[in-house]
Point group: C2
Chain length 212, copies 2
DNA sequence: GCGGGTTTACCGTCTGGACGGTAGAGTCGC
DNA sequence: GCGACTCTACCGTCCAGACGGTAAACCCGC
């Protein structure tokens, strides 16, 4: 049991490694095998088909993000907590280590979409669930969705290396999103003298339903 | 000439079609060929190698977006114009038609990253240029980048079908981003009576450099 | 506590098919 | 009749998956 699960982990880890290093096109069973220090037959014992391997990679990704959300307090039930957790889980606390992990996990998506779009189905379902949680988080749906889009955008651009933001700009954006989030939490803040009201633009714009 | 360019277009169009319908894995020369109503040899006349085909798809994507930016007035030089154009070009004016086009063009990215990450190099350069233009657009770098991330996030989630926003939520978010953008343009708005001031949260947070 | 049987975990080889790319022979407009 | 364009074989390679084998781990009656 422990033995087998350990090997499984090594295989998944190795597969991610291959994708990041050589690109998805080079993710063959043999490549993943040798990366994990195992034979091709060995891989096929754990994953009956190549698609099964990729699926496992994708599932690993979404459950990892779920864990992050919980660790960031997204399930506390406090209004805005989920959105904030979504933001923090994506932007990460310390950018250095997190980035590698983000990219590592993103490799799964790349592998998934490359192999066959329908392998992303389980991931799609998770995204729908997250979107549900976001719009029902106590903020206006638009504000929560805005935060989500920005977070997803960050992840995406860093994943593909499409002009990812520099460290300091990145944290400025995060701060700005956090501020936006706070202001969206208190739409009618009974303006207390000098404390600037940051509201408006975030009064509830009709009760949005959620993603398809 | 016209004849050849026409065929070239048909090939690129067909290739996108295949990616969207069957997934990147099925984008073979033969598949693209038969989609374009041509033979494999015919394709190889126009694109000496498969990589050349994918590269052309990617270039088509970025120049198309550049055209959108210009059409949206992004090159007017007015402060904030580029950021606004970036936003509008991504969110599109009418969501129906635009979405198909977005996905169609996104197919190129998928194809690129799947085949070989380094085929995205030209696209990376474009992204860097856009990011440059954004941070130098007259708003705070963080505000401009925030808008960019949200736009990229929208594109990405719609591309992969990862819980894309519904039509009305989508436009709510766009409106909120536009409001954010306006407020970032006028950081010290000399509050004119009842007109709500939407500022703060966007005062310039140090002069961020731009992406690597 | 030992031998026979079963399961688990893995290995190495083989094959059928797909795919990128090549060679060369048309075809057709000008 | 030339050159741009397109076609039809064809080759070599690569890879997923099948398959048969092996060796250790684990029962389990006795």
């Amino acid at each position: 049991m422990t033995r087998a699960e350990d090997t499984r982990e090594r295989i998944l880890f190795g597969a991610e490694e291959v994708v990041l290093r050589d690109g998805v096109a080079h993710l063959t069973l043999e490549a993943a095998a040798s990366q994990a220090g195992i034979s091709k037959g060995g891989i096929l014992y754990h994953f009956h088909t190549r698609a099964a391997l990729v699926t496992a990679m994708v599932q690993r990704l979404s459950s990892s993000f779920d864990a992050d959300l919980e660790r960031e307090g997204g399930l506390s039930g406090r209004p805005g907590a989920f959105t904030k957790a979504y933001l923090q889980a994506t932007f990460g606390s310390s950018g250095e280590v997190a980035e590698g992990r983000q990219r590592r996990l993103g490799a799964a998506v790349i592998a998934g979409v490359a192999a066959d779009p329908e392998l992303l189905e389980p991931l799609r379902e998770r995204f729908v669930a997250w979107q549900h949680a976001l719009v029902a988080d106590g903020l206006s749906p638009a504000s929560a969705s805005l935060v989500r889009l920005a977070a997803d955008g960050l992840w995406f651009t860093e994943l593909l290396g499409l002009a990812p933001l520099e460290e300091d700009l990145r944290s400025s954006v995060r701060d700005e999103l956090l501020a936006h989030l706070d202001s969206a939490l208190a739409p009618h803040p009974a303006p207390t003298a000098s404390q600037a009201r940051t509201g408006r633009g975030t009064r509830h714009p009709r009760g949005g339903k959620n993603a398809p």
